[in-house]
Symmetry: C2
Subunit: 269 residues, 2 copies
C-alpha cells in the first residue's frame, strides 16, 4: 500500500475550551550548538506557546524560544523535581487541549533514544495532532568534531547506534558482530557501562588496540575529546572525569590522530 502522506492524529476529535486546534511538534534540538537547529525546528520553537524541554537542552538553545513562550523543564533527572513519564504525557495533552501550540523539545533527534512513542500514544489517545521535526543527533555532531565519517569505503559499510543502558541485553551474535575488525558503533550514554562493554567485546575476540573515542558535550564550546583504545577505555575515562553528556565511538579514532599521530600527540604535551 502506498500513500503520499501519513495523517497524524485527527483534529476533528479534539475538543478545545477556546475553539482552537491544539498541536504538538516533537522537535529535535540537536546536540547543543544552537546553530545546529534546523530552520524548521527554529520556526516551530519560535511560534510555540509552550515548550516542554528536557534537562540537557543548552541555555543557548532555550534563548531562541519566542518571547512569550512558556518554558517548562520536564527533565526526568534532578533533585527537586522528578517528572514521571505519565506526568509529561498528561501535561502535553492538557496544553494541547487548551488550544496551545506546544513544542516538545528533545536533545539531538527525537526519534533516537528519545522515548517519543509513549508521548505520541498519549496524544493519539486524546486525538491531538502532532508532527516530528528531525534533529541533528549527537553522533553526527561528534563525528564531525573528530573529522571522521560514520561509514567509510573499505573500513565499515554499516554503523550501529546503541545505548549503553541496554547493552546488557545483547546476544552473543551481537557482541560477535561488534567485536569484528572494522566495526563502528556510536554508543549513547556509554560512560557507566564502559567497563562492561570493554569486557564483553574482548571476550568475544575484539582487538584490545581497537580505537575508542569519547566526545563530551559534542558541538558545545566545552567539547572535550578523549582518544583511547578498548584496552585503556575504563582507565582513561575515569581519569578524564567527564561529567557532561558523552558519546562513545567504538572503532573510530580522531582523524588527526590517525593521519598525523606524531604532531597530534605533540600538541597535547
Amino acid at each position: 500500500m502506498i500513500k503520499s502522506n501519513i495523517s497524524q492524529g485527527d483534529p476533528m476529535k479534539v475538543m478545545q475550551t477556546n475553539g482552537q486546534t491544539g498541536h504538538v511538534d516533537f522537535v529535535g534540538a540537536g546536540p547543543g550548538d544552537p546553530e545546529l537547529l534546523t530552520l524548521k525546528a527554529l520556526t516551530a520553537f519560535q511560534r510555540a506557546d509552550v515548550v516542554l524541554h528536557d534537562r540537557l537542552i543548552s541555555a543557548e538553545v532555550l534563548q531562541l524560544a519566542g518571547r512569550n513562550a512558556r518554558l517548562v523543564d520536564v527533565g526526568k533527572a534532578g533533585f527537586e523535581h522528578s517528572w514521571k513519564q505519565e506526568d509529561i504525557d498528561a501535561l502535553l495533552v492538557e496544553y494541547a487541549l487548551e488550544g496551545q501550540r506546544v513544542v516538545r523539545l528533545k536533545s539531538g533527534d527525537a526519534t533516537l533514544f528519545g522515548r517519543l512513542d509513549e508521548e505520541i500514544d498519549a496524544l493519539d489517545a486524546a486525538g491531538i495532532p502532532w508532527s516530528i521535526v528531525p534533529g541533528i543527533t549527537a553522533a553526527s555532531a561528534a563525528v564531525a568534531g573528530i573529522g571522521q565519517s560514520l561509514t567509510q569505503r573499505g573500513r565499515n559499510s554499516s554503523v550501529r547506534f546503541l545505548t549503553g543502558h541496554d547493552m546488557k541485553g545483547f546476544a552473543d551474535h551481537d557482541w560477535t558482530a561488534l567485536a569484528r575488525a572494522g566495526s563502528v558503533a556510536a554508543i549513547y550514554m556509554g560512560k557507566k557501562s564502559a567497563r562492561f562493554i570493554q569486557g564483553r567485546l574482548i571476550m568475544h575476540g575484539a582487538d584490545r588496540a581497537t580505537p575508542v573515542t569519547v566526545i563530551e558535550n559534542a558541538s558545545r564550546p566545552d567539547q572535550r575529546i578523549l582518544a583511547t583504545t578498548l584496552d585503556q577505555l575504563p582507565v582513561d575515562l575515569a581519569a578524564a572525569g567527564f561529567d557532561g553528556p558523552a558519546l562513545t565511538f567504538y572503532g573510530l579514532a580522531p582523524r588527526d590522530a590517525a593521519g598525523t599521530a606524531t604532531e597530534f600527540n605533540k600538541e597535547l604535551a
Copy 2:
C-alpha cells in the same frame, strides 16, 4: 589523551595566489526539504564563493545559495558528465588554493555514506583547512515521516544504518543479528538489492511478516511511502515504480498502520 578540539588542516601551509586563506566546508544539505538545513549549513552555504554539489541536492536547497555563488554540479551519475572522484578532489583543492570559500554540499549528512574521507585526504595533502557541518540524514527525516522512532524501549535498543550496495559482503552473523525479531535497520540505496536482502534474511530465519517500509523522496513534497512486509517487498517495490532516492526501513511499519490499521487501509482504498 584529551584535547579541547582537533585542528583540521594547517592554514600556514596554504599558498594562495591572492594571499587569502581558502577553506572548504563539507555541508550536509539534509534530505531535500530546505527547512531541514541547519542554521550553520545555511550560513556556510550563503557566504560561499563556490558550491560543489551532488546530483541529488534539491532545487529548493540550491536556491538558498548566495547570489554570487558559483554552483558546480559534480554529481557522479549522469549521461553527459561523469565526474570521477579524483576530479572532484582536484577541483576542491584548486578552488581553495585560489582563496575561495568553498562549500562541498552533500545530501543528508556528509558523514554517512558520503565518501567524505577521500576528499578530506586531498585537502590534507594540500594543507587546506576544512570543517564538517552536520546534516539531517535521510533516515531521520523518513522515520519522522512515518511517525516512528528509530529506537523504542521494549522493541529495539539499537539501530543499524546500512547501504544496499555493500550488503553482499555481510557475514553470516550480520545476517543472523539482522534477522532476529525486533531488529530495525535503515537501508540506504536498498532498492536494487531488495530481492537479495529479502532472500538472505529469510534464509537466516527472519519472519516473512516482518514489516518493511520504503520512503521515496523523504521530506519532499513528492514523498511516497510503501508499507509492506519482507515477504512482499520485491513485488510491491516493483509495482510502486519508485525512481527517486529511497530509504528502506527493515522492521518498521508506519505508525498509523500499526496503531489504526483499519482506518489507514480505508484511506488508501
